[in-house]
């Protein structure tokens, strides 16, 4: 159950970041910021999830 809460929370933060970038920032830098956000989201997810699994 805690795994699902972690994944939903992490994905929620990512989606909020995406919406912010899409609505508030200039279209010229938008794709690059989305790329950085996506990189942080996925690396963070796999890294933190591994720590979580190791801790079980």
């Amino acid at each position: 159950m805690m795994e699902i809460i972690f994944l939903l929370g992490w994905t929620g933060l990512f989606l909020m970041g995406l919406i912010f970038i899409w609505r508030k920032l200039l279209s010229r830098i938008r794709p690059y910021l989305m790329l950085v956000l996506s990189l942080v989201f996925l690396t963070g997810l796999f890294y933190l999830y591994e720590l979580w699994v190791a801790g079980l």
Partner: protein, 258 residues
């Protein structure tokens, strides 16, 4: 420079899906029939009738599940890359008439392939449920694995699509590369049957990391290789950055050339 338009992407995705089965009596039902037939071949023909066995497991259907777990993501990946390679050429009638964002033409391919992937995965999981398969908790990571896989496909697809505008051979090169890549990825065979040197070489194959993740979750009841996935995420985003940079530099030339 034009921006991404969500309604435009949805509209061409719908049209793409409708065109695929246009004129047939069963229409979009074929999108469900095809995965069922394919999974029947993998699980029943290979697993039960031909009696193919997976080394190290006692389960009767293990090889069929192993095949399906690798082929479903591979098909989505390969179709996205190969269709993306010719996206700008095939949609030049739209590009020259409507001021649309070119990457959106790739996103609609990715979305269309996602629908096919979702149908196949749902049918696969339903078959496993009927068989009383023991699901691993790593299953909840499937959406994230798919997201990474399709980002990787878009990175390669965008690169090929840009080059294909200027060098038409790129489409054929993409097809040949994907065919070779398929056989260098342990999807229909297990990595352990390969010689040691080849096994070490295959460890650097990005698609092996993804396919192995699916196989671990579905067949070996294990978590995916997280460390390798972190490295693949870095590689994917670096590739996507350079593909997008190349596209931005050549965008005006692409529009002129078409």
């Amino acid at each position: 420079m034009s921006t991404l338009n969500a309604s435009f992407i949805l509209e061409i995705t719908k049209r793409d899906f409708a065109e695929r089965f246009a004129g047939s009596v069963l229409g979009s039902l074929w999108a469900i029939i095809w995965p069922i037939v394919n999974l029947f071949i993998y699980i029943v023909i290979f697993g039960k009738i031909m009696g193919a066995r997976l080394p190290g497991t006692s389960e009767m259907n293990a090889y069929g599940i192993y095949l399906a777990a690798g082929l479903i993501p591979w098909t989505a990946f390969a179709s996205t890359v190969s269709r993306s390679a010719s996206a700008f050429i095939e949609k030049k009638h739209i590009i020259t008439k409507v001021n649309t964002s070119l990457p959106s033409l790739l996103l609609h391919i990715c979305l269309s392939e996602t629908i096919t992937y979702l149908i196949s995965m749902t049918v696969f999981i339903l078959i496993l449920l009927v068989q009383g398969h023991d699901f691993h908790r790593g299953m909840i990571l499937l959406p994230f694995l798919y997201y990474l896989q399709q980002l990787f496909a878009i990175a390669l697809g965008l690169f090929a699509a840009v080059l294909n505008v200027f060098i038409r051979d790129v489409r054929e090169i993409t097809g040949v590369t994907l065919q070779l890549w398929f056989w260098f990825t342990p999807i229909v065979y297990v990595a352990e049957i390969l010689p040691g040197v080849v096994q070490r070489f295959i460890a650097f194959n990005p698609m092996y990391i993804l396919v192995q993740s699916y196989q671990r979750i579905f067949v070996f009841n294990d978590y995916p290789p997280f460390h390798a996935l972190v490295l693949l995420t870095l590689l994917t985003h670096v590739m996507l950055f350079f593909s997008f940079l190349l596209f931005r530099v050549l965008e005006k030339d692409i529009r002129d050339f078409l």
